[in-house]
Every structure is written in structure tokens, then in C-alpha cells.
Symmetry: C2
Subunit: 235 residues, 2 copies
DNA sequence: GCAAAAACGTGCTGCAAAACATAAAAATCG
DNA sequence: CGATTTTTATGTTTTGCAGCACGTTTTTGC
């Protein structure tokens, strides 16, 4: 027996894919079983990169994944963060483009991949699945529209406040009902909030001084959510 | 005979709806014919407003329509511009939300509306239509992702340059192969490019001085597209 | 065709945020 | 465990952009 990290068994993974697989026909479920591959990524490892040809539908089993775009001065903008169990990496293929964003793991991450052409085939023969995907896309477009206004018009404090609330809503809180269940570097928080690392650091310190947050390295406790929401709202 | 502007006949309109109607079944085409209504909007008139309950799928027959979102200081951000024949106004309904953007006419505009619940029914029974809509959404998400980075990271000059190129690509050029086939106020150009009206004016003048553009009121001729693309790219 | 209103152009001022610089603290690794 | 690298923290400088004021030009509506 080697010391190498064991990959979970394909059979064990299937139940956790219910968001998609429950919509598949029996035929399609079989195709899923025979074509699914499980992959593991370490911290900061990339699944794909801007410009790559999209080949797989990715399904996040465990860990955290960021979708981001390289900006003008090498600065990144995170456009989406995924949590288990969500799937991604299919948009560019359906739009007939190469990837225009990159995907990377925030932390040790397990996901499974399925040839995206197969997914497209399923869409073309399964009304329920197609309508589910339409719903996902419609929601995503709404999020992006809101995001555009937030990122461009809110000030530093408003943007960071919004990001922290987003992380809280996405990953939830720990048992103390205050600590965000996620550890992000200041650089990642900056990439999420359209600012430089220095400004993310500075603004977090300010919130800490104002007793809105309790910041200990990457562990962030929200002390005054009321106030944080207000700051996020007014910008 | 009154002097009132005549609405085009429903029958005359149907052929121009081919992008959608060609995907419909015979049954659905009949439903379309009996449920379609033609409406006319004058300049700056609104079709719907943020917060409204979505009720209709809108199909732009002639004119120009902007989709925009009110920002923090009453400032607007245009998130999409439609040209004939494109359809809009269904996203919020499919995402089960109220409208989060508003729609208004840039100029005299004709469009037809169909109850959006009917459109949803069509989606749930027509694979081809569903897959067409998925493709539209996938493309839209890509545009928005790119837009987020442009609006947040490019400078004034880069943002205006990008908007002008976008207008050129959307509405084309007039016979001289230089004049953009669209007249927009500085305020609209500003709302499109995430800046104040003053800055839109200032930057256009600068481009005019640099012989990149020839600006006469709302008539804009692109003299040096090469240069404009460079400015748009580097930000 | 004229008056009123809207849109456009330009200069100036102040502030917010980016860039730069540097030091302290923490994480990583042989 | 100590040495090197990365991350975090903070102070300073510079830049970019919004806001305002004011004058001019162009549209719009009667």
C-alpha cells in the first residue's frame, strides 16, 4: 500500500452528483457512469486556463474553486466561486468559444470531469436538463449584472463588505455563529473585490478597529453584520 | 383617418421574428400569432423598471433598446444594448426574480410582446428552442465576464474606446465606412462606459484632437480604428 | 421662427484609490 | 529547528477621476 492519497471510488461519488444525475434518463446515467473521471487538485492548482479549448464539464465534489479572469496589469478578477456540489466549465463550450476565464483550487479539491460534448448531447435530448441549465444561466446573468454595478460604483469599504457577506452566504458560519467558514488570503479577497492587496488589508484593519470584524490572520469573525450590510448597501 | 401613427400589422411582423419562430412547432406558432401584441415606444420611454414583475417576452422589431441598472449615486450603468431583431426581458422571469434592470428606448422603437409564461411553456416542450436559449445565455455570460474586467480595470480612455468599438460592431458603419450608424448622447456613452458625462465629453475631445475620431455632436467617425483598438486593449 | 430646455465643452478643486516602499510576522521547507 | 520565502501590515507619494461652476451650442415644443 502506497502512501499516496486515495482517490474516492467512482461509485461513491455518484450519489453526490444528484443535482444533475437526478435529471438524467437511465440511458444517460449509464453514459455518465462509464465516462466520469475523478481528479484531485492541490491548493492553487489550475483546472483550466484562459484560451484553453473546453473539453470537460467539471463537477466540484469537495473543496473550493475560483473562476477568474486576468486583468490589464496582471491583476486578477474573481468572477465566481464554487462550492460543492456545483458544476462549471461548460459555458465556453456551449458558446463555441475557448475559455475566457481560468479555474483554480483555493484549497485541496476533488472534482469529477465528464466530456463536455457528452453533456451537450444530453442537453440536446433531455428537456428537463435543458430547462434546469437555462434556470442556472438566468440566475448567473442576474448575479453578474448586479456584480457589475457593485464593482464599478461602490467604494473600497462597500466592496469588501459585500465580498465578506457573499462568503458568509456561500460557505456559512462556524459553530460560534460568527466565524466565516472559509480561509482566504488578502490577495484573494482583493481579487474578489476589485482592489489591490494593500487596500484589502487596510480596509480589513479599519473594520477591525471599528469592531465590525474580528480579524486574526485569515480567520474572520463578523461581529456586527447589521453594520456590514449597511456599508455594503450604501457603497 | 386619424393622424395617429399606424402600428404595423401583426401579420407583417411575424416574418421578422424568424430567429425564434423558426424554432417553434406549428402548434406554438399558432399560440404566438394569437398572443402577440405590437407596441410602440418613443425616445426614452421605458418598457419596464427595476423591481417590476416580469410579464412579457419583448421582441425588438425596430429601434434601439438599452438595459440598465441604477447605481449608487443615481448613476446608471447600461449592461446591454439590443438591436433588431433580438429578444429580451425573460431572464428575470426564468430566474424567478423581479426585474433587476430597467429597459428603455434610445429612440423611436417598435417591439412586440408575448406573455412570458407562454414562452416558458414553449421552453418546457421544445428542445430546439431550449438549446437555442442556452446558447444565447452562454454567450451573454461570457460577454458579462469580459465586461466586468473591462469596466473595473481599464482607464477612461480604454473604456470609451471599447464602447465605441462595441457600437461599431453592433450597429455597423454608414456608407463612408467610418461613421458609426448610431447617435448617442454623451450621457449614454458615459453610462455605457462607467464614467461621468464630463469625462465622456473630455475623452472624446481628446480622441478628436489626436485625430483618432472626428466628433461632430452625436455623429462620430472613426478615423484610426487601429489606434482605437490598441487603446481599448491596453486600457 | 422664437423661447425654453436640454446637451455640450472646459477649467478648476478635492478626494479616493493605486502605486510604491519597507518592515514585521508567519508559513514553508530542507 | 533555523533559514528562506511568502504573506501581512503600515506609511508615503502619485494618479485618476468625480464634482462643480459656468459659458456655449444644439434641440425641442409651441
Amino acid at each position: 500500500m502506497t502512501k499516496r492519497q486515495e482517490l474516492p471510488n467512482t461509485e461513491d461519488i455518484l450519489p453526490s452528483l444528484s443535482p444533475i444525475s437526478s435529471l438524467l434518463t437511465e440511458e444517460q446515467k449509464k453514459e455518465l457512469q462509464t465516462n466520469i473521471v475523478i481528479k484531485r487538485y492541490k491548493k492553487n492548482e489550475m483546472m483550466y486556463k484562459e484560451g484553453d479549448v473546453p473539453q470537460f464539464l467539471h463537477c466540484l465534489i469537495s473543496g473550493k474553486v475560483k473562476i477568474y479572469k486576468e486583468g490589464v496589469g496582471g491583476r486578477n478578477q474573481i468572477v465566481h466561486i464554487f462550492k460543492p456540489v456545483e458544476f462549471f466549465g461548460f459555458r465556453a463550450y456551449l458558446a463555441n468559444e475557448n475559455y475566457i476565464t481560468s479555474a483554480a483550487a483555493f484549497e485541496s479539491t476533488t472534482l469529477c470531469i465528464i466530456p463536455v460534448a457528452l453533456f451537450e448531447k444530453w442537453l440536446s435530448e433531455n428537456l428537463q436538463l435543458a430547462n434546469y441549465v437555462i434556470r442556472l444561466c438566468a440566475i448567473e446573468i442576474g448575479i453578474l449584472n448586479r456584480h457589475i454595478v457593485s464593482l464599478t460604483q461602490k467604494h473600497l469599504r462597500g466592496r469588501i463588505a459585500e465580498s465578506l457577506l457573499f462568503l458568509k452566504d456561500t460557505y456559512g458560519l462556524e459553530d460560534d455563529e460568527q466565524t466565516i467558514s472559509a480561509r482566504f488570503s488578502r490577495a484573494d479577497l482583493a481579487d474578489l473585490s476589485n482592489m489591490t492587496t494593500s487596500n484589502a488589508i487596510r480596509t480589513l484593519s479599519a473594520f477591525s478597529n471599528e469592531k465590525i470584524l474580528d480579524v486574526r490572520g485569515r480567520v474572520i469573525r463578523i461581529l456586527d453584520e447589521e453594520q456590514l450590510r449597511k456599508i455594503s448597501k450604501i457603497g
